[in-house]
């Protein structure tokens, strides 16, 4: 018996003895209001049903790097991990996530529709179980933008009509697309243009026109804070953050849904779990991603459920009592002009364009 096995066995024994056979499961997520919504909608009911004790770990931001390190060390301590779709694709590429067969491992919709059909196009990777649709979009200070509130994303690039600072994320993704869109490139052609050297330079040149007016953010909480402080008059962030600032904190902020970029967030199960842990993780996933559970999460946070069958079940906010449907990024009124994050493109071009973008920022 190897020493590590011996250690693991003795640790397990102590744990079993100490906890009177209570099962622990470590679920990794983003923390804050998002983890709270998962706790309310998934963890608490699951624990009540099964007696499994769920431990939250707020490490999703570093999930890919940490999973790779855990995998190399041969000791994966996480059972279920919440990641954005782009990270799920990379984890799947690296062989660090379990491949999922949607139809056998995920619950059918109540009307019997197969899971693969219910999730549809959102199953962007073989390892990824989508949970929510969120969007990166703009919020603006209603009291600082003057008489005509912005209606188009190009207001961000219009410093004459809307003077003042704007906040943008300190990375090329989304910003490059918006820049091209506002520089006259057709929506369908954006990624073809962005794949070329000239296209990348064109996007950077457009961003150059507002460079002195931009505060660059790296944490999702930055823009709501900057807006609340009046440091910026408009800025991009995740729609759920803006919802919290507008409805929960009653800040004078308006939503600019135009050209919002849809992205997905969901679960992966790490590769290399022991059969028992894997079975339990799959059992949890089967429960947590069924139609009702996904709709339940929307009572806590304004992200759209990833299943088509969940949309009609979305109700009111748990504490505020307001209808959640109009605050969903997928609501028809909000989704008049949208963009879907292009995973294949960014998997290829991320490093290349990021180097250019950072060099441009430092200029």
């Amino acid at each position: 018996m190897k020493l590590s096995n011996l250690l693991a066995a003795s640790t397990a024994l102590t744990l079993v003895a100490g906890l009177a056979a209570a099962e622990d499961m470590t679920i990794v997520s983003w923390g804050g209001a998002y983890s709270a919504s998962q706790k309310g909608a998934y963890h608490d009911p699951y624990s009540a049903n099964t007696g499994v004790n769920i431990i939250n770990d707020d490490s999703s931001a570093e999930a890919v790097a940490k999973l790779r390190a855990m995998n190399e060390a041969g000791n994966v301590t996480w059972d279920v991990v919440d990641v954005v779709a782009a990270d799920a694709i990379r984890l799947c590429d690296e062989g660090l996530a379990l491949e999922i067969d949607a139809d056998t491992m995920l619950a059918d919709a109540p009307d019997g529709t197969k899971a693969s059909e219910d999730f549809g196009d959102l199953l962007v990777s073989d390892c990824f179980i989508p949970q929510i649709v969120y969007s990166t979009t703009f919020g603006y200070r209603t009291d600082l933008v003057g008489d005509t509130a912005p209606t188009s994303v190009c207001a961000v690039f219009d410093t004459d009509a809307y003077p003042g600072k704007r906040s943008l994320e300190k990375r090329p993704i989304n910003n490059m697309e918006w820049a091209l869109l506002c520089d006259g490139v057709a929506k369908d052609a954006v990624y073809d243009v962005l794949a070329t050297e000239e296209g990348q330079n064109q996007a950077l040149a457009k961003l150059d026109t507002i460079k002195d007016d931009v505060i660059w953010w790296s944490a999702g909480a930055d823009t709501p804070q900057l807006l609340a402080d009046g440091e910026v008059i408009m800025g991009s962030t995740y729609n759920g953050r803006l919802f919290a600032a507008i409805e929960e904190q009653k800040q004078p902020i308006g939503m600019l849904w135009d050209a919002q970029v849809f992205d997905l967030d969901g679960w992966i199960i790490p590769a290399g779990l022991s059969p028992e842990r894997q079975a339990r993780a799959l059992d949890y996933i089967m429960f947590a991603t069924d139609t009702q559970r996904l709709a339940d999460q929307a009572q806590y946070i304004s992200y759209g459920p990833a299943r088509k069958s969940s949309a009609p079940l979305v109700g009111k906010h748990k504490t505020l009592g307001i209808d959640m449907a109009p605050h969903m990024p997928t609501d028809p009124n909000n989704a008049k002009n949208t963009f879907l994050y292009n995973y294949e493109f960014w998997a290829d071009y991320r490093d290349d364009i990021d180097a250019k973008f950072q060099a441009w920022l430092a200029k």
């Binding site: 250019k356 060099a359 430092a362």
Partner: protein
């Protein structure tokens, strides 16, 4: 004194020569000393040296290519890249066989990610090809050349095979070249295109800003340390608590506090506008630039400067200053010629601490640095946790380590490392 007398060597009480007996006793003592430090030594080796060497060695490792595509690499060895012709069928067949194994083990996408660092597009090429090549039988479906080019047009591009050939070695200098804004191309080493050059600039900026931060810590810390060392015990204690108080506060809290202070609608700007020093429309930009980084980091690192200075100054007897003055020195001469030279070891120790801490900083620059105030560590963090290019991160880290050692060596040559004291 000699150990040989007229009657032969000096003997110890038990009759052995004194020299040998002494040596034995010393050896035993040394061994005992080693045993005492052994736990720490083993701990440091296991938890510090070994992981760091392991991480840094990734900067040259490149066995993923030959491990994933062994036959292809062998077959490509005889291909003449400069001919401008695509490799022959043997290479494509070997590649199909290698890929069949790799797809089974789900390793092909990982290799695609690795090669994407060298040429954009490899990541999706391997992922897409993998999906379609699953259906190919590596024996029955020959020949493969046209089929592969049909699956992805990249396999019909000479450039693709050139990249594979160039990066097929077990070790690579590619990561180190990338770390200094160059790249390893099939035609030799070349600079990155100008619009992608950033890392050398960041190295330079990190060093210069760290020097400025160290300098401002000296300027601000010296008077405080002097005050600490020359006040009554009661006041000194109170002052020391004030110096240590920020030390006990979370780093993130302190950095965020600077944000509140420095932003355009922040405390400083509001006060300046209120007393009329700055027009409302033209508020000062104090944050999200180099100034913000320097201010916040100077504040955060100040205790590391004050404490060594203070402990050295405490050992300087005040009577020296009085003696100098009684011999006719002015206040300035007495300070500059008598007091200051004795306090230099404290400045040296503090400077080394502050400088080395600041070149590795990344949280504070990330929060208050904007675009022009970020350090090389921010790029290292990006490559470790976002782009997963650990090879490049390791190369950057190695270079940073070597630069620090070089500076340390230069410091030793100029000032002398004996001239550093922590008290």
């Amino acid at each position: 004194m000699s150990d040989i007398t007229a009657d032969g060597p000096v003997l110890a009480a038990d009759g052995t020569p004194l020299k040998r007996s002494l040596a034995r006793a010393m050896r035993r003592q040394k061994l005992r000393a080693l045993m005492l430090v052994a736990p720490l030594l083993i701990f440091v080796l296991l938890t510090f040296i070994f992981p760091i060497v392991n991480m840094l060695s990734r900067s040259v490792q490149n066995d993923i290519v030959v491990n994933t595509l062994p036959e292809t690499v062998r077959a490509l060895g005889s291909w003449d890249a400069s001919s401008g012709q695509l490799p022959d069928e043997a290479v494509y067949a070997a590649f199909t066989r290698d890929m069949a194994v790799a797809i089974e083990a789900k390793k092909h996408t990982r290799l695609g990610g690795r090669l994407n660092y060298e040429k954009t597009g490899f990541s999706s090429m391997f992922r897409q090809s993998g999906r379609k090549m699953k259906k190919l039988d590596p024996v029955a479906d020959a020949p493969f050349k046209d089929k592969l080019i049909d699956i992805h047009k990249g396999w019909g591009d000479v450039e693709t095979w050139k990249v594979l050939q160039t990066h097929s070695g077990i070790f690579t200098s590619g990561y180190f070249l990338n770390a200094i804004d160059a790249q390893k191309t099939p035609d030799g080493v070349a600079w990155q295109p100008e619009e992608k050059q950033i890392l050398l600039k960041l190295f330079g900026r990190t060093l210069i800003m760290s020097l400025i931060i160290t300098g401002s810590c000296i300027m601000l810390g010296y008077p405080v340390a002097w005050l600490l060392a020359n006040s009554t015990a009661r006041t000194a204690n109170l002052l020391l608590i004030l110096v240590l108080l920020p030390f006990w506060t979370s780093l993130l809290v302190r950095t965020s506090a600077w944000k509140v202070m420095l932003q355009q609608n922040g405390v400083i700007n509001e006060v300046l506008v209120w007393i009329g020093l700055v027009p409302d429309a033209d508020r000062l930009i104090l944050i999200n630039n180099q100034f913000g980084t320097i201010v916040a980091m100077t504040h955060i690192l100040l205790p590391f400067m004050i404490l060594p200075m203070y402990s050295v100054m405490q050992t300087i007897p005040p009577s020296y200053l009085r003696a100098a003055k009684s011999l006719g020195a002015t206040n300035w001469t007495a300070f500059w010629r008598v007091y200051f030279p004795q306090s230099v070891p404290g400045i040296g120790a503090g400077s080394i601490l502050v400088f080395i801490l600041s070149i590795g900083y990344y949280i504070t620059p990330e929060i208050v640095g904007g675009t022009k105030g970020v350090f090389i560590s921010n790029r290292i963090a990006y490559h470790i946790s976002s782009s997963l290019n650990w090879g490049l991160a390791a190369a950057l880290g190695t270079i940073l380590l070597v630069v620090v050692l070089l500076l340390y060596w230069a410091y030793d040559k100029i000032v002398g490392i004996d001239n550093v004291k922590l008290g």
